[in-house]
């Protein structure tokens, strides 16, 4: 391997890593706020890519159907729960929030077909609009009823949810993969190093959105309430912050990050209805390097996974995944040693 190849691999790895950064940060956000390891996050990214591709081809994407189905289920679950608790007067609000709002979003996209034919920016915007309701609706349907369960139980539920989403993805998007039009054809050259515009865009977006998230946490009230919920759920509740609401916001913000990564990856790689799993899993490795709490750690970890993967695929492509996932074990041991004081939290 000479310097040229190494630099190509490094840049390619950093671009993949930047994608993982976005997904991993969303994963960490949701984990800290709700204790859910949201495995289907990769699926959200893949679905965004498929949505964008469908819009490009002038079709109403399967996401619309998915949102309608989920909105219906969430409304049903919510209404039944309200009736049971004798809070029937809250039903109109629930209908507005869980049914009318998502359907309105779908409606907007459906009605504005002539618009998205013409503009890529609008297509990207509509893809994000369509993808945002999915995770919060899933939260309502799947996780809210078992919010007090152990992290492990929630993890297992996440796995099952991932299976269900992959099935729904196949139903709504079909088995074939998609690849969207490149956003830019620019190529930058620095001496012998060549960076494609798309790779630069991915890295720029990762930095931009990580930065925005930081500002959101530090300078907005909602961001601060999310952080408060993450640190101490019952304490936050005492301060008038509803953990459910924080959860919903976390899912929306996280979905935005995953959605952006899906948009960015769609032109460089073919996305399938089931591409999300390995994508999410590799991002998850990055999140674990950050200990599932530290955002800078997560970002570094995800970039590291991307670069490692890139070099591993050059050295021995068949064993690439073996290498990436084997590496997780020493990382876990290191993380476990770093966070030794957890013993008493395990008790009973």
């Amino acid at each position: 391997m000479d310097f040229d190849i190494a630099s190509i691999l490094a840049i390619d790895g950093l671009a993949s890593g930047a994608i993982y950064v976005l997904i991993a940060i969303g994963t960490v956000l949701i984990f800290t706020v709700t204790r859910v390891v949201f495995i289907p996050f990769g699926d959200i990214a893949a679905f965004t890519a498929l949505t964008l591709a469908a819009l490009e081809m002038g079709r109403l994407p399967g996401t619309a159907g998915l949102v309608v189905v989920l909105a219906g289920m969430a409304t049903l679950v919510e209404v039944v729960a309200l009736l049971r608790n004798g809070r029937a007067h809250e039903i109109p609000g629930a209908l507005l929030y869980y049914l009318a709002l998502p359907l309105a979003l779908v409606g907007v996209v459906w009605l504005s077909e002539p618009l998205y034919q013409s503009s890529m920016v609008l297509r990207i915007l509509f893809s994000l609009i369509l993808i945002l309701p999915i995770a919060p609706l899933l939260d309502r349907i799947v996780y809210r009823p078992i919010a007090d369960a152990s992290v492990l139980m929630l993890l297992i539920v996440s796995m099952a949810l991932h299976f269900a989403l992959v099935g729904l993805g196949l139903l709504f998007f079909g088995p074939e993969g998609v690849r969207t039009e490149p956003m830019t054809d620019a190529i930058f050259e620095f001496g012998s190093i060549m960076i494609t515009g798309q790779a630069a865009l991915i890295m720029f977006a990762a930095v931009l959105f990580s930065g925005l998230l930081y500002l959101f946490f530090d300078f907005t009230l909602i961001g601060k309430s999310l952080r408060a919920t993450a640190v101490n759920r019952s304490g936050a509740r005492l301060m008038g912050i509803r953990p459910e609401r924080s959860g919903t916001i976390a899912y929306i913000v996280g979905s935005l990050m995953a959605g952006v990564s899906g948009i960015l990856i769609a032109p460089v790689n073919t996305m399938f209805y089931d591409s999300g799993f390995l994508l999410g899993l590799r991002a998850f490795v990055g999140a674990i390097i950050g200990g599932l709490v530290s955002y800078p750690g997560t970002a570094i970890g995800s970039l590291f996974v991307g670069v490692l993967e890139s070099f591993a695929s050059f050295q021995s492509s068949a064993f690439k995944d073996v290498i990436v996932f084997s590496l997780l074990i020493p990382i876990l041991i290191w993380r476990s040693i770093v966070s030794v004081h957890t013993e008493e939290h395990d008790e009973e």
Partner: protein, 384 residues
Amino acid sequence: MRRSLLLAATLLSGVVSTTFAHADIKVGFVTSLSGNGASIGIPYSKGIKAGQQYQSEVGGEKITVIELDDGADPSAATRNARKLVEEDKVDILIGTATAPSTIAMMAVAKELRVPMIAISPVKLDEGDGSNQWGVTMPQPPALMASVIADRMVRDGEKRIGYIGFADAWGDLVYEGAKAAEEAGKIEVLTNERYTRTDTSVTGQILKVLASKPDAVLLGGSATQGALPPLELAKRGYKGELYGLAALVNADFIRVGGKAVEGVKVSTGPIIVAEQLPEEHFAKKISMEFRDAYQKANGEPTTDGFSAYSFDAWVILVDAAERALKAEQPGTPAFREALKEEIFKGDEVAGVHGVYNFRKGNSYGVDERSLVVVKLVDGKWTYEP
């Protein structure tokens, strides 16, 4: 607790085994409607529907199909095959979308003595064929590779880089290429692999390019098969591209765009049926297949996979016609007769090839089943 389980099992089997005897010919069809074989499995399913549309009766007996999904999991394929034979008493098995699942089904077919038509390219070691219950529809990858290797030789390409899927298909193509290497036709320089869900093949492509190949052989399929050509184009590769039938797919062309222009593929004649000369064996039946497919599925054909399951139907109908003269469907004797008749089929023309299945060999096609086609302006063109 075990009792309640048994009770449940008994109830279940009671409910499902309330099938009454009739003389329909029952076809047990397993395919991957979900899982990572779905992009091939769903066309297979549509091909069977086209077959039903094409000919739904033989010798006055209706042919019914029971379709089950295996999710590309060999355990599920095995269970499905057993279910179809033991519960639904099917007369013949057809399946499935992935090679491992097909091999697994074939073992069941042999054990339970039911004829089986494999629609994935699996090579079965049948010895003298005295206890052979299965045949394989597609052209053997080795034959495909050999045809395309001949074309490479004709084109003057010698040093070949290989990149393919890290799965059974990728293995088969590589083995085919190695066989051509041993025959002294070409030289295979690399064996790079990627998975269907990979986000990038940069590392693999750099390695292929580092070996300075004359041409690159692609061992992928469908959409994701376009990933290496795209990366090759990005890295400035100007040489020829070759591939096998699995690349013949609308999404491969759509996704690959300019990068896959000019790729040469060895595939069944159905792909270029319209361009075939009138006297070609596949011309007439291909047109009929196109019509039946359109009627059954409400869309035009776009791939070569559905044609394999359609050809399986053709073989089934051909053999059943003769077997019905001797035996009643739904009996072991009919299954035995059906199997024997499959091996007696003579020059049965399908849309992919002319089939002559004989005991001792699971494949039944020859060079006639393969043509070389080239992608020109997004269309496959016949290159005799």
